[in-house]
Amino acid sequence: MKRAGFSNRWLPILFLIPQLAIIFIFFYWPAAHAIRSSFYLQDPFGFGETFVGLKNYTAMFNSAAYLRSAWFTVIFTVIVTFLSLSIALLLAVKADKVIRGAKTYRTLLMWVYAVAPPVAGVIGLILFDQSWGPIKDFVALFGWDFRLGVDYFDTAFAMVTISVWKQLPVNFIFFLSGLQAIPKSVREAALIDNRSASGRFWDVTFPLLAPTGFFLLIINITYSLFDTFGVIDTVVKGEPGNNPMTLVYKVYVDGFRGNDLGGSSAQSVILMILVLALTIFQFRMVERRIHYT
């Protein structure tokens, strides 16, 4: 710590207590509880529990439903992340370029940030409605008989579309502020060196945006894993059945509806490890990034 600051003894502790108390009760305790429960089998009616070692984990990795959901989560995350990043980048580059109406475009493209995921899900239900949904009608022109909630692929398609729509604004805002942070002198130098606009973009702008892009990559992966819960829950109308679901949704369904606390906790622990790995990876990359910028 670089600060000289104050040397009062009790005051800082007093200031830290609210934060620490909340964290211990609502973060460390539940996290520890989840890890512990993942090694136990709970009686569904609440009469005690028995230690089963790694059985919850082996059962999980042998369950076809879990593996299916894991694969869906991976594919879903990759597609949502890729689409929302690339579309947002295109829009941000254009919004950075235009002079007239720049502010209006910016507002129109960012306000969806404030729309809650389940509300986006409700909008999706209407757009893909079985009898008159506009997107369903549109794809029917190409002979696609769209069946939301019935066909696995169609439902997954709707989930991806809605999730990308909801995530575009965040990426747009970050890319735009990243673009605006590029010094004017660099742009002018690039303009002299390289006459083609796309050449300038790939050789100069894109590498300069890489740190923003990398940061957003992590944000988007976390978004696809966790924040899409509301989208998925509304699209399947709370009845997952055979529909696609992400791992987080499965934790909720198995634990909260199915009352399989041990199994659900084991799933939580796997997710915790996944997020930890992602974060450590992010910190590593951020450290490295400091060296070359």
Binding site: A95, L108, Y113, V115, A116, G230, F256
Partner: protein, 286 residues
């Protein structure tokens, strides 16, 4: 001549892309509004259309004051009130607690400062979603189901605001504390009279981000509130889609207006305080 012409064509392309993007963002909500302006029978037969009807006031009345379910407590007004409490409670709670903790970490010589730092910042690693069930059990054990504190406090248990204010406090020149101390200001006076006013913009930026985040919570409120009188708007959306399923004549007008009311406050805040919002988002790095 040819250069200027080519330039113009590329501008047309740029604007077309931006206009298409903007339309994709805005049309779905216009569609909600259109459906809310016609009668439910019309919507049920034709779906969303281009012509606006005159049913907005009728549907608004239903959205705000009609309730369904057993207790009849989940009127739009009630849900709006609950959402406000969640949004404000979460944002204010998080900022106050975060600022206090950040102040203690940055401005005091603490023996266990490094330990406190790590204990607090580990919480950045795991979102609430991965420890959702044990959190539910603990809230249940503490008797906080269906209460505002049960709704708000567990959501505060992550250090985003603390981290944000720590970064900001560290960017304030050290001479300021020295000067304040020479002038005889104690730690509390320094905090209240100097640091808080200095952080005004940061507080505003953080408030917007946190308000939107709290208002839009879905999973946690779904688990923690079972009494209809405690539903927030975003949590009530589930009920809306379920009533659409079961009935002969789905109430599209009412449900779509409720959806619009659910997005209106955070959207207005984001639009009107845009520069603070962007600052809070890009500088907090989440």
């Amino acid at each position: 001549m040819s250069v200027s012409k080519r330039f113009r064509w590329s501008a047309v392309l740029d604007h077309s892309i931006l206009i298409i993007g903007s339309l994709i963002m805005i049309l779905p909500v216009v569609m909600l509004l259109q459906m809310a302006s016609t009668t439910d029978i019309h919507t049920m037969k034709n779906g969303p259309g281009l012509i606006f009807g005159d049913q907005l006031p009728v549907n608004f009345e239903k959205a705000m004051f009609k309730a369904d379910g057993f207790t009849g407590a989940n009127t739009g007004v009630r849900m709006l009130y609950n959402s406000m409490i969640l949004g404000f409670g979460f944002a204010i709670g998080k900022i106050v607690i975060g600022m206090m903790a950040a102040y203690a970490i940055v401005y005091f010589r603490l023996r266990f400062a490094t330990l406190a730092f790590w204990v607090i910042f580990t919480t950045l690693l795991l979102p609430l979603e991965v420890r959702i069930l044990p959190s539910y059990e603990i809230v249940q054990r503490l008797g906080m189901l269906n209460t505002y504190q049960g709704l708000i406090i567990p959501l505060i248990a992550s250090a985003t605001a603390t981290f944000f204010f720590r970064q900001f406090f560290r960017s304030i020149p050290e001479e300021l504390v020295e000067a304040a101390r020479i002038d005889g200001a104690g730690p509390i006076k320094f905090f209240v009279d100097i640091l808080v006013p200095l952080s005004r913009t940061m507080i505003a930026a953080m408030f917007i981000i946190m308000f939107v985040y709290g208002w839009n919570q879905y999973l946690w409120p779904t688990m923690i509130t079972t009494e209809e009188g405690m539903f927030t708007l975003v949590r009530g959306i589930k009920q809306i889609t379920q009533t659409l399923e079961g009935t002969n004549l789905p109430e599209y007008g009412r449900s779509n207006l409720l959806a619009i009311i659910a997005i209106l406050p955070p959207v207005l805040i984001v639009i009107f305080f845009q520069s603070w919002f962007v600052k809070g988002l890009t500088e907090s790095d989440k």
